[in-house]
């Protein structure tokens, strides 16, 4: 006689569909009804913010945008760009933006989108206060080139203007760059290899798994400060005072994290119960 099927003994495909459906339901709910769970600013984000605003008057920041495609869609790095443009206005800082993204020209597209849609450029002049090199092929070759001589990284900027005709690039050397920033989704090793020997402040923002991999560099102070993935970007907005989608995504992150843990516990409890039943 066959045993009566329990209601939770459903097929694998249905289980998967149920898992996805609940996830979509949870994340969709917070879109309609934000929870507004408070976010405390951690020491790491505070360090990042302090290191960025500590750039001296008239200093130079180099920013390498190499984050993943999610950044292009969500524009979650808008806050960093806004902070840097505030520094341009307040402290006459110069900004060099480049992308060595392994995803290809999408890195350059990310920069264009952030500059076009997210940043208030009033009071700044392209070529005098900031320059965009765009996406450059070669990944670590670009980083190596930057560390050797910023003048030889590329012949033209992202818009075809020769570097020699850009006012802020005249007589600029790598040694003049005060702060190196990068965002990435792959290992931090290439940036550390190429920029570490320059002994300048290096700031990183990247995914949570990347932070774990970069901890030795942070401990030995090769890496000055880091943002802790999506949470770090949201914390930066807490400090800056203007909120974007990075903060809005935190509610969904909270629920998805709890949901993932609940799934782990559920699957383990079911597995152990099944083992005991077989014994």
């Amino acid at each position: 006689m066959t045993e009566k099927k329990k209601w939770y003994n459903i097929s694998m495909d249905v289980q998967d569909s149920l898992v996805y459906f609940i996830l979509i339901l949870l994340c969709g709910t917070v879109v309609l009804y934000p929870l507004g769970i408070p976010l405390n600013v951690t020491k790491e984000t505070r360090e990042y913010y302090d290191a960025l605003i500590a750039v001296p008057e008239g200093g130079v920041i180099l920013y390498d945008e190499a984050y993943m495609v999610q950044s292009y869609v969500t524009g979650s790095e808008i806050t960093m760009f806004r902070m840097m443009f505030d520094l341009i206005r307040e402290k006459d800082v110069k900004l060099i933006i480049v992308s060595s993204c392994v995803d290809g020209p999408l890195g350059g597209a990310m920069i264009d989108k952030l500059l076009a849609e997210g940043v208030d450029k009033t009071g700044t002049t392209y070529g005098v206060d900031y320059v965009n090199f765009g996406w450059l092929p070669g990944f670590e070759l670009v980083l190596s080139s930057i560390s050797k001589n910023i003048q030889t990284v590329t012949m033209n900027d992202a818009y075809g203007t020769p570097i020699s005709q850009i006012p802020m690039m005249k007589d600029l050397t790598t040694a003049d760059i005060d702060v190196f920033c990068f965002s990435c989704s792959v290992s931090a090793d290439p940036w550390m290899r190429q920029w570490g020997p320059l002994h300048k402040p290096i700031l990183m923002s990247g995914g949570s798994s990347l932070i774990a991999q970069a901890m030795p560099y942070y401990e030995s102070r090769v890496l000055t400060a880091y943002l802790n993935g999506a949470r770090g970007l949201a914390e930066l907005e807490q400090i800056y005072g203007k909120f974007t989608i990075a903060t809005a995504l935190m509610d969904a992150t909270n629920l998805a994290s709890l949901y993932g843990i609940a799934l782990i516990l559920y699957s383990n409890i079911r597995y152990q119960m099944g083992r005991r039943k077989m014994q």
């Binding site: 898992v19 996805y20 670009v142 080139s145 774990a212 992150t253 782990i264 699957s267 383990n268």
Partner: protein, 202 residues
């Protein structure tokens, strides 16, 4: 046999610039030449894209000519390639349209690990030993450290999560980084001696 066709010539072409860059790194002599050599690396990268494009055309062109397996997808590849390529030069608006509404969603779908991770967690995260339990507990504490709600439920999640990040994780990552560095040096020595020829396609 012509010397240019011999393997030794290719190895010399590889090793000489390598030695020059090493020499420049440790002595600082001939800096402009070294910078130019590194830039040539980027130029080679671009040439490799041309080779890749040729290879793509050859493989899929042959597939279409012979009406091989899934040859219709090869036609799609050709049309997509040409459209994207022409649009990037002729019409930046169309290029941006393709980037925003076709390429980006496709890339997002490929890179979106959320659903796959959940399935993996649901089906595969089953502990069969005490070490497995330890690993899972570490993962849970790490996740709750990263999620803002974790410290709100219990401040200990942040404390323990940070300890896991700063102590055992740091120790292991340090060891891995050092081993990787030693491995890189060993590979470099083998390449200089001509014993490592993976770049020749061996």
């Amino acid at each position: 046999m012509s010397f240019i066709k011999q393997k030794e010539f290719a190895i010399i072409l590889f090793v000489l610039p390598l030695l020059f860059l090493l020499f420049n790194y440790y002595t600082g002599i001939a800096e402009p030449a070294a910078s130019e050599l590194i830039n040539w690396g980027s130029y080679l990268w671009n040439f490799s894209m041309i080779i890749g494009t040729y290879s793509l055309f050859r493989v899929h062109g042959t597939n279409i000519a012979k009406k091989g397996k899934d040859w219709s997808y090869s036609v799609v590849i050709f049309i997509s390639f040409v459209t994207y390529f022409v649009a990037s030069y002729v019409s930046p608006d169309v290029f941006k349209l393709i980037l925003d509404y076709i390429q980006t969603p496709i890339m997002l779908t490929i890179w979106m690990g959320g659903f796959a991770t959940l399935t993996m967690v649901f089906r595969g995260a089953r502990t069969k030993s005490y070490l497995g339990v330890l690993l899972l507990l570490g993962s849970i504490f790490t996740v709750l450290r990263m999620a803002p709600i974790g410290p709100l439920i219990w401040p200990g999640f942040h404390t323990i999560g940070m300890w896991i990040n700063d102590v055992p994780n740091m120790a292991v990552m340090r060891a891995i980084t050092i081993v990787m560095g030693v491995g890189l040096i060993a590979t470099l020595v083998r390449e200089i001696l001509g014993k490592e020829t993976h770049y020749l396609g061996d």
